[in-house]
Symmetry: D2
Subunit: 327 residues, 4 copies
């Protein structure tokens, strides 16, 4: 197959860096351009410094509108602006890693219809889509934890979610809470009950269980590590642990990156992979679900490549057999 | 005042190390002996290596039964065994840092009656006590977060608690989950819903609000840091944020180490201090309480010294004006 | 090409874990068996927990003597013992990751001759070798930093080396210096001037510059991170920076994984890659060389796969295009 | 004794924060004012957030010129500017934590003569001084490691120094190398051979050994921890280890915070203390000296208080019996 020509918009951030790392090793893609006005002319390796020796490519401030697919790695709100100010060819596919098109109310933009790109939920629609709204990182971990219950219509009450994210979740900009001396050996909570990813989570839950009217109560935390999301969810569940496991195994039977673990989980099992691992635990009338991902891979750039593979008819896992860093 | 003669039993662990550090600088105590059979004859600084230059004292395998107070820093279950095998003088006070005497059912032992040593709850009883059961670390953080509501009889429903502890919470013994390569940049959950501190927490809540029949649902986590506990709790609360703040301010009016913060909290505000900081946040019908402590100080050895001060009629804060490490 | 049948001996350690991760994604190999007596019957993912979902293979306590290549991932000294107690087929190649066969005095064993497997030094010998002694981790970083100068005969005086290694360098066994509470935010020095890798370093330097009679003065440090080696070396150098850069660029012209960076380096540029990055700095009569690797990849398992590729006539980089974890 | 009235200039940085923490617990001082134009009116605890519950003091933009002592915690170069723009009373003592007055060429300023405030070197001069130039953090660790040899006239050749500092050494300002995602699990080198502290180090060495003409070759590193400096130094030494130990013990006999350890050192032995620990090791013709301090205490604010104690005739250790954080 002829190589897919790829453009990346907003090439200096963390998600763009991960995309570049993935696509340089992807057997069916060619990095046609990486757009970053602030770094135009600099080598990619000047910003993404692990790329020394891996590529001589430079950033550009010119968009090639005729590539096969464009990834938008822009701050939230900036994808809309970019698409207003730039015209891409009719056949260019778009995968937006921001949150501009994730909610139903935002999906139709300028004649384009965006499909919510969670393969475990919308695989067939993604295969036929031209425009993808890639899910948020917390949203991915939490949805993959809760969707099987919604699918079975078993969400009867509030879902209590606590999740902690690595510092890359906050982006490359400098702030007091990303300063090393602040964050080293520290923990804190933010946006309790109101994190912006709740919108897409509730939307997907309702897509599967239309009568779900309870709350998803979500406490997000900042962790003192760089990569990954560790989420725990619990809710009422009357069935047995075995029934829950069967339900989850069945729901994820065709999933290429989401697996049920019989053992307790710890975050580093998924760091530097595109996997989501899920563990189930039953205690009295509650089920506890642990769901873990790498926020930059399954939570962002890895899932974006997974979506690209589906859109172009490639094997879903192409270029995503990553060696975990583990330690 | 003549110096209080102190004995420490089980001197090689983390809580004993903190006690030694505290008591070496306490103006009214003298370390009479530090008992550790495995280290007898070694300098304290051989095990607690920050003490180089601070003391020439050595561990002993002989118990002096006539000291004024003995701190038991033994693994859970071993305090009972120690007191069966060793006889202390009638006037020797005992502060047990283990969990052998915390529950009502365990409080009377061999003619001794232990008082649960949470000063914010039982100050007057502690002042008159001869035997103290020092609270657990998670138990301290969670109780200080929830007791004002119980006091006001306002716990109407389940309390949802998530807390993360530093690696010192697991003690000095080596295990796979305390190995650096495992824990570095990692997170995990353990003993979900069944942590042993729930017993003492429920007991104190019921002491203040006898009609509390709901559940305290507690998810403990292992964090990738050494010291501290960061706990978030939420439950239904119909009042306003101001009412909650007034209630907490009032409940802790006389407390010497527990303070209400108007700002969001982060763990390092309390590391290397004996403080508990609490922050309140209201969202719709819920109140979110953040409660943070240093697990080795307010969660163990600092609180033990606080109890000693009260038992001996000293100013409660003596020897506990600690410089935070903060970074 | 028919898949190379691979056996791994000592499958539960860090280097074996990395080998398994690499070989599961290598296009030309098949994991024939992973030998670990203590884990026989367990899934690989029971020990290497990132492999959940990636393989169902189990450990075995039976050695298949007819595989194409065996990797020995044993504690130092145990490779000799293993080869005495087990007979492999005449055609089975062996790559030893321990230090049993690295020194000239040890290279001939039981009719086998081991080649020192540093591709930048011995590429042609490796291509023809049946038995490889894979270099040590510190030895790799330091040699790649100093060999170009030796090659040019320019080592005129002592070489001063300081290097810091991640905790995986100490292996999986538990010890006080690998306990999280000890190592978190800590640094220490060990084996100053006497580290066991000095033998192989001096041997390679003398292979290129036979008149080198000065000392390599090496201070190894334990760092509070999991992966990687950061080494600085300096020595007298009369030439210009440009001459040094030209020398290094030329020496590594054919190298597939060793690159000269014009910018200052930081360790994470190479973490989770098989690369060695080198930076040169001139100050008055000294040259300062920074050399960085991932201790488990270029310093162990990645280099072992690189050697395997060379021995089997594969492209040297096969299976080693790894996505850096970077953060 | 009447309390010493203290003013702090530049109150929002790390060293000012440490000073405030120390002085709030110092029995003989009263914080008269903390000057910070950018934070005027804010509580101290708004910036130094561990102070919640410890003080209600606020920052001011007014300097009280009549306090007993002023600490200057300003960026390098700004102390001169501050003293030009502000007039303090004739009797107000000054302790400058910057590097404006450390070198002999800079010591006389505007009628004031600054004494270099390293108590182990200049105790008597400090006791009589009105103006103190507080040493740099690296400079303190390295001088305390090397001065006994200089005192004995035994520095015969180059001194090779490698030291790593925590992120607080870089100050509170945000930069790429203080971003958590960059620094977490990372190491790097900077200012090799040219660090600005070499000036004061060489000056003190020459004060004790006037014929020292060799080089102090210093490689500074950025470590992935918050507090502390870990320095190793080696040089030629013909005597025995015992002779070296006797020399160091003798040189530091009267020192209150500098101790010789018979055991190997690790950084956390001094974190959150005002101590310097030194370990000596002999190998062939070299002596290896390990010297460790907390960069914010013995390397800055703790030493400043030590100097204040000496200047005001207080016991040198007053207010500096700090509980180590250790873990």
């Amino acid at each position: 197959m002829k190589n897919i020509q790829v453009g990346i918009i907003g090439g200096a951030g963390y998600t763009a860096g991960e995309l570049i790392r993935l696509l340089l090793n992807h057997p069916n893609t060619e990095l046609n351009f990486v757009y970053s006005t602030s770094n135009a002319g600099n080598k990619l390796s000047y910003v993404h410094q692990d790329l020394v020796g891996a590529t001589e490519l430079t950033f550009t401030d010119t968009v090639n509108p005729d590539v096969d697919v464009v990834f938008l790695c822009l701050g939230h709100g900036n994808s809309v602006r970019f698409l207003k100010e730039n015209t891409l060819s009719e056949t260019t596919k778009i995968i937006d890693l921001g949150n501009d098109f994730r909610l139903t109310a935002d999906r139709n933009f300028n004649g384009k219809t965006f499909v919510y790109g969670l393969p475990e939920l919308n695989k067939h629609a993604i295969e036929k889509a031209r425009y993808i709204a890639n899910p948020g990182c917390f949203a991915t971990a939490i949805q993959l934890g809760v969707l099987p219950l919604a699918y079975a219509g078993l969400l009867k009450n509030d879902v209590h979610v606590n999740a902690v994210t690595g510092a890359t979740g906050a982006g490359t900009s400098l702030s007091s809470t990303t300063h090393f001396t602040w964050r080293d050996n520290n923990v804190s909570v933010y946006k309790a009950f109101t994190h912006q990813h709740l919108g897409e989570i509730n939307q997907s839950v309702n897509q599967l269980q239309t009568d779900f009217k309870s709350d998803i109560l979500f406490i997000p935390n900042r962790g003192n590590f760089s990569r990954g999301i560790f989420a725990t969810l619990y809710t009422d569940f009357e069935g047995t642990l075995e029934e829950a496991q069967k339900l989850y195994e069945s729901f994820y039977e065709a999933a290429k990156f989401t697996f049920i673990s019989q053992e307790n989980l710890h975050l580093k099992q998924v760091v530097n992979t595109n996997k989501c691992l899920i563990h189930l635990h039953k205690y009295q009338g509650k089920i506890l679900i642990t769901s873990i991902i790498d926020n930059l891979l399954k939570g962002a750039s890895g899932q974006a490549v997974q979506n690209m593979n589906l859109m172009f008819g490639l094997e879903e896992t192409t270029g995503l057999h990553l060696k975990a860093s583990y330690f």
